[in-house]
């Protein structure tokens, strides 16, 4: 059964697509114009929700991995793998949109800003995660190893963030870093965008887990 044969999934996807367009519309027409930064500032409405969701995904990786190691029930490994993949895609997007945002605002595409640097390290970490999944041998072993790496990587996130934060040359307060100081119109558009990207995240997770589950079932059949 393909993912989209289920009505629930069709509805979810369709609703999300609509909301994505609405989101873009609000960003273009409803969001207030910020004097110095003009249109480039609006990248914030895409960039920051991406970051929040990527960390949501990696938090999920930690929970699912721990649960998998304890219960050894495959469904948790499926969720862990999907969360890792979707989280990493969002990480990639953060690394793409971040420099595009930085260039007009700060002049340079890459400064060793804590959030971006942490995201880069995370991205590299999860490349390792996928390598272990690929080269780790038979499923029983590679899934266990991936779970351990997943736990190590996600536990490291806050430590990496604080270390890089304290280390980085004092970058003046990036707009994204003081969420408190924004006008309420900005926050409303932001929260709607956050909601949109969370929906995108959920869709991608559901789709990926479904396909992964099918992959594993097929592997089981072939091994019997």
């Amino acid at each position: 059964m393909t993912y989209l044969t289920y009505n629930k999934n069709k509805i979810l996807l369709f609703a999300t697509l609509i909301i994505m367009f609405v989101n873009l519309w609000t960003i273009i027409y409803l969001a207030p114009m910020i004097p110095d930064q003009e249109w480039a500032q609006r990248i914030f409405y895409y960039h920051v929700p991406l970051a929040w969701n990527a960390f949501l995904g990696y938090f999920g990786v930690m929970i699912f991995s721990i649960t998998y190691l304890i219960s050894r029930n495959t469904k948790w490994d499926v969720l862990a793998q999907a969360a890792a993949e979707v989280g990493t895609i969002f990480c990639l997007l953060i690394l793409i949109t971040g420099p595009i945002w930085a260039k007009p605002i700060w002049g340079k595409a890459w400064t060793w800003e804590p959030r971006l640097t942490t995201t880069l390290i995370l991205f590299l970490l999860f490349i390792g995660y996928f390598m272990i999944r690929e080269f780790g041998g038979p499923y029983e072993r590679s899934s266990r190893y991936a779970a351990v790496i997943g736990i190590l990587a996600s536990i490291d996130i806050p430590i990496i963030y604080y270390a890089v934060d304290f280390w980085s040359p004092q970058v003046q307060s990036h707009p994204q870093r003081d969420m408190g100081g924004h006008a309420s119109a900005v926050m409303q558009v932001f929260y709607f965008s956050l909601f949109t990207f969370t929906l995108i995240f959920v869709n991608m997770m559901r789709y990926r887990s479904h396909v992964r589950k099918m992959e594993l079932l097929k592997l089981e059949e072939e091994n019997v």
Partner: protein, 221 residues
Amino acid sequence: MQLMTLVKKEFHQEIRAKESVISMTVFSVAVILLFSFAFNAAPAEFNKFLPGLIWMTFLFVSVIGLLRSFSAEKEMDAYSALLSSPVDRGSIYLGKLIAFWIFLLLAQGLTIPLFVLFLNFKISGEWYVFILLMMLTDWAISGVGIMISGMGLRTRMGEVLVPVLLFPLLSPVIIAATKSTSAIAMGLPLSKFNFWIMILITFSVVFSLVGYLTFGAISEE
């Protein structure tokens, strides 16, 4: 007690212990020589980079050493024998952690004098503080390293996987160690760099705990 026996076991393979420390030390010497050539050893500016270079060297050295930390078990399938005995998996982890920690400290002990001699490494502060820093950082490196090599070395691309996984995981440790070393070299009191020490302590505690709890899952057949 069990743990002591396990640690001693790592040493009893005396040949392996010697091999590990010697190969790590020789590697450091080679790196130091290369740095001397590559950077023309101009003293004034060099001192700013020295802490970073020192810890990068030790990081590479650790990878070399870790790649060997399971080699004895792989030969003669001693690993299955070890696992079939009623030893607590967590203790195996701690045993290897402590043993590698000691090997690393020994290798560092042999190479720091060379950094002083060839690259003008100077400590204005107290040397014992630096030694304590090394002990702490090495514990962090060993804690994560034993876990990673325990997994990586049993896979196909194992030797590549160890550095690929280790370096990003250890990035906060390297930052902290480098910053602390700079501070100690400048003679600053502990209060100036205690944030970094906290990072190292947190890291060591958290990851050793994770290692202790998960080594069973790592070493299943």
